[in-house]
């Protein structure tokens, strides 16, 4: 499904959570939605899921607005970091409700994942541990097979092994059947290998949208004597720079080959660090 975000703003009592954001997610891919706390990620995901309305602008999914639109709501599954389900229900009731709601629901996959995560079907939601409650969110998100599946920090309380299992399942399902997966997280190092494309929000605005492998090729740190580095970075997109004892390191976005042929020390920049420098620069 094609997602078009056209000049979307959202204001909460005078505070701008989103400020004229526009971009397009043209095809099913695994997208990483990154940004600092308060950057507007959750607000964006809520508008996309049709849970709230934008103050200005609109999000169109295959040309339609998702708000109060059942055909689209059935195609979108949003799993957040907690409070996904009514506290007084039992696990099996939650699963039944979602199985009714999503026409694409895959019961076989749900059963397999329940076994995998050793989830007690008769437990009440309020009695679940944080990890188990996250596991249930992951099971619902995966088994919904919704053409647009959104995970907003879905794994609070899940240990490293259970998270790894989640990544395995996600990739396996994605490989078998392409769908749009939007993944928002602060554990960037752990998941950036799965992203095909990355979007970074900063203070309610879109700071960057790029293919992950292109980012790996274009973001780099260049170091050397201050004068040489300063000369090299002139006219280039410098994200941040530091100096120490006559030496300078600049974090640059651009053609890495130029830096290599300039005889300076060049190191690639992992996505996590790029995110940090990019969002620090603009004074978060």
């Amino acid at each position: 499904m094609k997602i078009e975000v056209n000049g979307v703003s959202k204001t909460y009592k005078g505070t701008k959570a989103l400020d004229h954001v526009s971009f397009t997610l043209p095809e099913p891919k695994i997208y990483g939605l990154l940004g600092r706390n308060g950057a507007g990620k959750t607000t964006f995901m809520e508008i996309l899921s049709g849970h709230i309305l934008a103050t200005e602008g609109e999000i169109l999914i295959d040309g339609e607005n998702p708000f109060d639109n059942q055909r689209l709501t059935e195609s979108i599954c949003l799993i957040t970091e907690g409070n996904n389900f009514k506290k007084d229900l039992k696990v099996k009731h939650v699963l039944n409700i979602y199985a009714y709601f999503y026409p694409t629901w895959d019961q076989e996959l749900a059963d397999e994942l329940i076994k995998e995560y050793k989830l007690n079907l008769n437990a009440k939601i309020k009695a679940l541990s944080k990890g188990m409650s996250s596991a249930l969110g992951i099971i619902v998100g995966m088994a919904s097979k919704a053409p647009i599946t959104i995970f907003d920090e879905p794994y609070i309380g899940l240990d490293a092994a259970a998270r790894k299992k989640f990544y395995d399942i996600l990739l396996e399902e994605y490989e078998a059947e392409k769908r749009t997966i939007i993944f928002s997280t602060h554990l960037i190092d752990e998941v950036s290998l799965m992203f095909e494309e990355v979007l970074i929000l900063q203070d309610g605005r879109l700071a960057l949208q790029e293919e992950t492998d292109t980012l790996r090729d274009h973001a780099y740190a260049v170091s050397g004597p201050t004068a040489d580095v300063e000369q090299f970075v002139m006219g280039k997109e410098v994200i941040q720079s530091k100096q120490l004892a006559g030496m300078m390191t600049a974090y640059v976005y651009g053609n890495v080959q130029q830096a290599k042929s300039a005889g300076l020390t060049v190191e690639g920049l992992p996505i996590q660090e790029l995110m940090i420098y990019l969002t620090e620069k603009k004074g978060a």
């Binding site: 695994i30 395995d168 994605y174 490989e175 799965m194 790996r216």
Partner: protein, 125 residues
């Protein structure tokens, strides 16, 4: 597979280079099947599209051939194509940095040649 993926470099390139190295040093021989994008994706927990980009480039270069429903295989000419390709980049990747470093250390041209000659017998017995 022992490849450690490096976060600072495009992943598709690392997959590609891994396969190229395996073909050049004979770990994977002509006619043999290479891991599928699915297998790469699972093994390294990477996006399957990224793995596919690496193998597709090798298909375009005539190093791998796709057989529908069966998998990807190393072509007969793979090694020759790769060696030709690597020779072309040898100057950029090895000779230029060698000369740059020599320049930094004030090593003269004759000293450098002497060092290269000193290694002459290394691969001749």
């Amino acid at each position: 597979m022992t490849l450690q993926l490096n976060e600072n470099k495009p992943i598709f390139m690392q997959i590609k280079e891994y396969l190229e190295d395996a073909i050049i040093n004979g770990t994977i021989k002509p006619g043999e099947r290479v891991p599928s994008t699915n297998e790469f994706s699972k093994h390294y927990q990477i996006n399957p599209a990224t793995a596919a980009k690496g193998t597709n480039e090798l298909v375009d270069e005539g190093i791998l051939v796709k057989r529908r429903g069966v998998g990807m295989f190393v072509t007969k000419d793979a090694e020759t194509i790769l060696i030709d390709k690597r020779k072309q980049t040898f100057y950029e990747h090895y000779v230029l940095p060698l000369k740059d470093e020599a320049h930094k250390l004030n090593i003269t041209k004759s000293e450098l040649l002497e060092m290269v000659n000193r290694e002459e017998n290394r691969y001749e017995n």
